[in-house]
Symmetry: C2
Subunit: 529 residues, 2 copies
């Protein structure tokens, strides 16, 4: 099962490829030059969507933590074994460079293994136990125990810019399968081949682990059916929750659809962000080279197509700032041209830059042309706070290798800039010792509408770890109380359930008095291992 | 400040009563006989709603855990000190009996003190720390730390049936203030006087604790403004989250309003439930008296106006069941008449019972008249599973002292009945040793769409403890991933926030390396105190 299967172009439902009879066909295009790539893809029909969702409902049953962990580990093994072919196809479809995609594949298998370890260890189910007291007056105190249980079938919408780590076998799928929820993935039309290869790894692992074939399904969605497949999936009664990474427009549409269902369901939509960076005066003077080096790489990397790319850089007017801006423009100007995910992405970014640079008091630094046959090169725009406040579109995400420098008259204006930026995934602050007095009061204000504060670093490169928060207030995310990266991501697919005076032998192992799984639990108010 | 203040009839905003000039007036009515009670109440205007919400936004600032705890404790002290007058007014407005309201007041002050203890202890902020590793290749591992932070101003909608514990100073308000969120309460029009007395305790405590006066506001909402005040509050840009306890219709309306805002916000709506009870054959034979005693008290208590009242009771056909049903009807028939919350509640319940008992194959047991001048007496209806499946309205909540007995042909039909009941707050199971073989496979199916399983007991009387879950799949609750009772209730008003490579002296105390607050934290994957 480790030789890479060839592409069928089909959706995968109940462990098998769908019959392509009469389905609208579409093709992937090479990101680099727009040429059509081999293999016809067949968009899922409404019936396919129903079969996948009903199949997921049928497969929703208690599975042991060990089986779930083995499934995730096996997916990771198959992805790694088939990695060369997957990376090759992803390079064609997305235009992302080999090292980036190899890194992303490693991140993807690491995520799968991390969730496998989490689910196997078991404490993530968040057990609380309050022992009863029959002697309590006026009423006996009941024995109450609770833990997280899975919600049901999860629909996953992958992102165009992370064809592996935030797509078919990405963090949403890994965390949902870990939680015990079946998954139906709506494939992204820009990487249908990469999607099918990743889906095959999961389909094969489900079969090898002898799980119900409805545990995972993959729906091709492209051409005339691109939007419909997603809407039908979110509207299907069997779907219990949705994970989404992508644009604000699509995320908002899905979130509203889900809220208007007869039975509303949650949508965890991660929709991007301007990720403001605040360069405090002391840091500008003392850490210029580090800032220029880190920031230019973070703006230009992956052709700027990262939801955590720094989009707004605030600084205080002054000689040191002028020198830093000059260096930053030089560093970015020296970047090699890169391919964007698609001509549509490139054109949208290009038009946006053209529109912004025509605004009054918005200045473009460096080269006049950002987009050539060889690809795109980074763009730096510069303005001041007053201009940004008058033209709110300057504070909206601009998806590509660009950033907007915002000159502020003083430190207090940096705080005003933070308010303008609205809800963001991240806020980054560079400071030196001389900035501490300001930061000690301003830090909570600078970071108030953000999910993560980064100090003396860059927001790109989201570490997969228990403490990570990849989320933020709207419009960055539809559910700022959650995170799509890190151990807490598994909780999105769960709800707490209580057991009151239930006999020990009828309790799930996690709740039994003897703690046979040896997990950490909150017992009568104390954490106990 | 502990003498009970007299009623002004006003809303309370920024620590002061509003001027009633021109506001639409309304009066409370005595639940027992419908007569108008003294004191004109003045409904909040749209301007009042804005002042309260903006005031809450202005008051949203970092407060220490100790200050929050003192606030909650002081509210509890003032409520207790003024308890006699509060209970007196609540008896008039709601018709609930003195012992029930005295119990509810004790529950309310207990909740406030429980959240005070929780917030003071501090571990509830759910700290995760992953230490960095500069030597890691290819990239250094950052130091990432995260904890829960408050969302912002919370709007609270109190319930008619719990004028104290789920209203102005109830669990939603207590948990939101504990989390650090300011609160704006929309008062319930059926107990405006009780509401104002409870609000005064919070207003006075806010002043005594020297918190910003915008920390708490209370809006009178009655007469022509009853619905508008709530909608304006949910639509106000300053409001960040909503807590609601009440009807399915109102909860669904608010949830959709909140989802359609420019910046969507979460609504935690607890909307009631049929709370099915499954009497397994062994239990029916061996535990008849205990079942009859517990179930009759649970159905009739508080005139059946509890969201956890057992509404559907499933059992397997047989002699023992017939005897149990007969005893249950006798026990309920002996209940004294009770006053319902309002004539509207009584009429709605009465009409519903009349409609259901006219359905074919629905039989009414015992007395023919449930509603007299002296009050209402409990009603038992009886049908079978096939009838319930054909008439889904039988499986909808019926708010009052009644229950529907559903005869099943065998144990498997009990599982079918569970599916019909849909999302519920609770599922109750009575079993004996001879039922264990069935339960060992059926328990997960019986409880699948429920937030809490109760064994050999009753669902009413929701214990306030860390492990409690008062929630459930839709339509019981809009957010089954949360709970409105128990320690986890505080998480509703929070989101996680990460700090990456932030210098120790700039971190909140909860995240500092030395753990100065001594809280339990997840450090590098291990729980540490």
């Amino acid at each position: 099962m480790t030789t890479t299967p060839s592409l069928t172009g089909s959706s995968w439902i109940l462990g098998a490829p769908t019959e392509p009879l009469g389905a609208p066909r579409f093709r992937a295009r090479a990101a680099a030059d727009g040429r059509e790539l081999a293999v016809d893809f067949h968009a899922a029909s409404e019936r396919d969507v129903g079969l996948a969702a009903d199949g997921a409902r049928g497969a929703f049953a208690a599975t042991t933590f060990d089986v779930r962990a083995r499934l995730l580990e096996r997916v990771a093994e198959l992805l790694a074994a088939r990695g060369a072919a997957i990376v090759e196809r992803a390079m064609l479809e997305t235009g992302l460079a080999r090292p980036r995609l190899e890194g992303e594949l490693a991140r993807t298998t690491n995520q799968l293994r991390t969730f496998a370890a989490l689910v196997r260890e078991g404490s993530w189910v968040d057990v609380a136990i309050d022992h009863g007291d029959l002697a309590r007056a006026p009423l006996p105190k009941p024995d109450v125990r609770s833990m997280l249980v899975p919600l049901g079938p999860v629909a996953v919408f992958g992102a165009s810019n992370f064809p592996l780590a935030f797509s078919v076998a990405g963090g949403d799928t890994a965390s949902a399968l870990a939680s015990g929820c079946p998954v139906v993935v709506k494939g992204h039309p820009l990487h249908p081949g990469t999607g099918e290869l990743a889906a095959r790894a999961i389909v094969d692992a489900v079969a090898e682990c002898e799980l119900a074939p409805g545990t995972f399904a993959f729906l091709q969605a492209g051409g005339a059916r691109e939007v419909a497949v997603g809407l039908e999936l979110v509207r299907h009664p069997a779907i219990a929750a949705v994970g989404f990474t992508g644009s604000s427009a699509a995320g908002t549409t899905l979130t509203r659809e889900a809220a208007l269902r007869a039975r509303p369901i949650p949508v965890f939509a991660e929709m991007g962000s301007t990720n403001p960076v605040f360069l405090l005066p002391g840091a500008v003077r003392e850490k210029r080279d580090a800032i220029v080096s880190a920031l230019s790489a973070s703006i230009a990397g992956s052709a700027g197509q990262l939801c955590t790319r720094p989009g707004i850089v605030g600084f205080v007017r002054g000689h040191a700032s002028d020198a830093l801006v000059e260096r930053l423009a030089q560093a970015l100007g020296a970047s090699a041209p890169q391919t964007m995910l698609s001509s549509a992405h490139r054109d949208a970014w290009h038009e946006r830059i053209e529109r912004l640079q025509r605004l009054e008091r918005v200045q473009r630094l460096g080269a006049a042309t950002a987009s050539t046959a060889a690809g795109v090169t980074p763009v730096l725009l510069r303005t001041d706070l007053a201009t940004l406040e008058e033209a709110p579109e300057l504070a909206e995400e601009c998806f590509g290798p660009s950033a907007l420098l915002v000159e502020c008259a003083n430190e207090d204006e940096l705080v005003d800039l933070a308010q303008q930026a609205g809800g963001t995934l991240t806020v980054t602050i560079w400071s030196a010792a001389s900035d501490r007095a300001f930061l000690s009061w301003a830090l909570p204000l600078l970071a108030r509408d953000s999910g993560r504060i980064v100090h003396d670093g860059v927001p790109t490169g989201v570490e997969v770890c228990a403490a990570m928060v990849h989320s933020g207030p709207f419009p960055a995310c539809s559910r700022p109380d959650s995170t799509s990266v890190g151990a807490r991501a598994i909780r999105r697919w769960c709800r707490p359930m209580a057991f009151q005076n239930v006999p020990d032998e009828l309790l799930p192992d996690e709740l039994r008095e003897a703690n046979p799984r040896g997990i950490t639990r909150l017992v009568d108010g104390k954490w106990r291992a």
